[in-house]
């Protein structure tokens, strides 16, 4: 697929390796960058995403922390105000709940509340978990809570190319950036330039072109939507799949332009729908197109905590088959269609090598 960012030689790279490569390149370039968080320097290296950093940059720049998420977030903010550029790592997004006072009351507001006299250039990495019984507190996708707060930027790359480009952009940004990763994206591969490049805030991407409906996926749901789009091709339904990449600032116009063409919008969030990113995206589209007849729907997690049992967990998430069925129903109302069960299960063997 065609690259639209980056330069130099490209090669297939896993998402997890793209993350560590991006951080290593920025640490090499800028001595103010440091990485900290529980277990960033251990043998498992945050599921591989901080692999090699401590050996290369030393324990002053790559260090583990006490289980003190609240204070460690404050430490990151203080260090950032003093001119350093911290990357604070959380192995699950659920732990961000312990950081919310510092993130919401200080990181997000400091530049504004102190009259522009200080900056808080920090990156907060966190990983959304899924599958194998992660359960209620290892599976949450809480990006909407963060999108609500002026002053925070929020990014959720869906492929290795964007993982690298967004991480470099996040580290170079003079604001707090909430960097949302997904565990199931870690082994996925994409063509990634060897050189440094950025995927800038506020620009989304059309991953697959289509004319019948606009489908916006968030984080891992971008892949699920692409799988659904492939399933629908046999039924002759052509979905345009959009990855917003950055949730704040959000590229509203790429979505609006697509919806004006297709007249239909399905937002598939990797999160709950209530007051979520899907609500925000649909509101923004509605505000721009209120005089136009459009059909908008959304999908997301079931409105329950995430259960670990496989039969329940399967019901909890949208999947390529349920997404494809919903798209078909929107495009051809009244015509019953479901993807073939075997094909739907094979959808997971499809390789999507971004950046689409």
């Amino acid at each position: 697929m065609q690259m639209n960012n980056g330069a130099g030689t490209q090669r297939l790279l896993r998402y997890v390796d793209a993350l560590s490569e991006a951080v290593a390149m920025e640490m090499q370039r800028d001595s103010r960058v440091f990485v900290f968080g529980l277990d960033v320097d251990d043998h498992k290296a945050i599921q591989g995403s901080t692999r090699g950093l401590v050996d290369r940059f030393g324990k002053d720049r790559v260090f583990t922390t006490p289980l003190s998420e609240d204070a460690m977030t404050g430490v990151a903010i203080g260090a950032a105000m003093a001119g350093l550029r911290p990357v604070h790592v959380h192995i699950r997004m659920d732990f961000l709940m312990l950081c919310m006072n510092q993130l919401v009351n200080m990181a997000a507001k400091a530049h504004y509340m102190y009259g522009g006299t200080v900056n808080v250039p920090m990156v907060v990495r966190s990983i959304i978990g899924k599958s194998w019984g992660q359960g209620a507190q290892h599976s949450q996708a809480l990006h909407a809570l963060l999108m609500h707060i002026p002053g925070l930027k929020v990014v959720a790359p869906s492929n290795a190319h964007d993982a690298k480009g967004c991480m470099i952009a996040a580290i170079r940004d003079d604001n707090p950036v909430m960097f949302v990763e997904h565990r199931l994206l870690y082994p996925t591969e994409a063509y990634v330039p060897e050189d440094a490049f950025t995927v800038e805030p506020g620009r989304g991407r059309i991953c697959a072109s289509g004319t019948d409906i606009t489908v916006v996926g968030v984080s891992n749901m971008v892949l699920e939507c692409l799988r659904a789009q492939e399933l629908l091709a046999e039924a002759g339904v052509h979905a345009e799949v959009i990855d917003p990449i950055w949730l704040e600032p959000l590229d509203t116009m790429t979505i609006v332009d697509s919806v004006r063409k297709t007249r239909r919008l399905l937002v598939v969030d990797n999160a709950w729908t209530n007051c979520g990113a899907s609500a925000e995206i649909m509101s923004r589209v509605a505000e721009q197109t209120w005089h136009e007849p459009l059909h908008m729907e959304r999908m997301g997690f079931a409105a329950t905590p995430c259960p670990p049992s496989p039969t329940l967990e399967r019901e909890f998430y949208p999947n390529p088959a349920t997404i494809a069925a919903r798209i078909h129903e929107m495009v051809r109302p009244g015509v019953t269609w479901k993807p073939d069960a075997e094909r739907a299960s094979l959808a997971y063997q499809m390789q999507f090598r971004g950046p689409f």
Binding site: D70, T73, G74, M81, Q102, M113, G116, G151
Partner: protein
């Protein structure tokens, strides 16, 4: 850092008097509604900020709370900027976007203060991490109240500062009150310094608010922090004379007695240090302070409010 020279005493008195008078002026102006921000006055607590800041270098850093007019002034923060901020003016230290509870003056190394109790403690620690790497021997003095020591983040911060040998002086301004709730309804035991020492941090208590004693302990602490890069903790007992928020007194509210106030007024450091100076010197200082405050108030009154378009600026850097 010995103290006996007239110069030292004059400087200390000037700062004590400046804070006392500036806050009395804030209280005087407040009913006019020219001040557009809730004020938490430090009147009665000046000795802590002055005793600590007197031993800091110009490039040392202070972190404070929503009751931080005192530490802001004691560290040399811009006075016209303070008054203009209280007035909500464009020339305020936070350009009218902070208010009394979010003072800042990075030129004088005063970190932004916070309304949420305990919040600036880890930020001070993080700042000290950067100073340690910088290697110029700078220290951070983190001011907070007794209420902050009840927050989990306080102990997280102590632990991290000790674990990483960080150059931070923790200063607890213990005025025995969290809004209106006294210590005995909040602390299971009174042994704050003992709690802190379990983290391997030396801790000292000053119970009479003696500014020279605070200064002397602070001088020793800051010297050791500069050489060893290890945190030190000071618990300074003090007393808030006015209501929690606002310009007045509230001894008729029933949560504390005027007798208690009178015990603290009997050891008020402002006149006690003033009396150590000769009369001419003292009067000269007081006249200069009045002029400085009047000029700061005049600056605030004459300054423009921010343009409405300013609302949307500075959300992002």
């Amino acid at each position: 850092m010995h103290l006996d020279s007239e110069l030292d005493l004059a400087r200390i008195y000037r700062n004590l008097w400046l804070i006392r008078r500036a806050e009395e002026e804030i209280a005087r102006i407040y009913p006019s509604d020219k001040i557009k921000s809730p004020v938490h006055l430090s009147i009665g607590q000046e000795a802590v900020a002055v005793g600590i800041c007197d031993v800091l270098r110009v490039d040392d850093v202070v972190a404070g709370t929503y009751r931080s007019h005192a530490s802001y002034i004691a560290k040399g923060g811009d006075l016209p900027g303070l008054f203009a901020e209280l007035y909500g003016k464009d020339t305020g230290c936070a350009r009218g976007k902070g208010g009394s509870m979010h003072l800042i003056d990075m030129t004088h190394h005063i970190l932004g203060t916070s309304a949420v109790v305990g919040t600036t403690v880890p930020i001070a620690v993080g700042y000290s991490l950067a100073l340690k790497r910088e290697g110029k021997g700078r220290v951070v003095a983190a001011f907070f109240g007794d209420g902050a020591t009840e927050e989990g983040v306080f102990y997280e911060s102590l632990n991290f500062a000790s674990l990483h040998d960080l150059p931070v002086l923790f200063v607890c301004e213990n005025n025995f009150l969290a809004i209106h709730t006294p210590l005995e309804k909040r602390w299971a035991t009174r042994q704050l310094c003992e709690r802190v020492r379990t983290y391997g941090i030396p801790a000292h208590q000053i119970t009479d608010s003696d500014v020279l004693k605070i200064r002397s302990l602070a001088a020793e602490a800051v010297a050791s922090i500069r050489t060893d890069s290890r945190p030190v903790f000071l618990e300074c007992h003090t007393y808030r004379w006015r209501e929690h928020v606002g310009p007045g007194e509230d001894y008729d509210a029933g949560y504390r007695s005027r007798k208690e106030l009178e015990r603290w007024q009997a050891i008020d450091q402002v006149p006690m240090i003033g009396e150590k100076l000769n009369r001419a010197d003292r009067e000269k200082i007081e006249a200069e302070v009045e002029e400085k405050i009047a000029s700061a108030i005049d600056f605030a009154e004459r300054s423009p409010f921010p343009d409405p378009a300013e609302l949307y600026k500075n959300v992002h850097a």
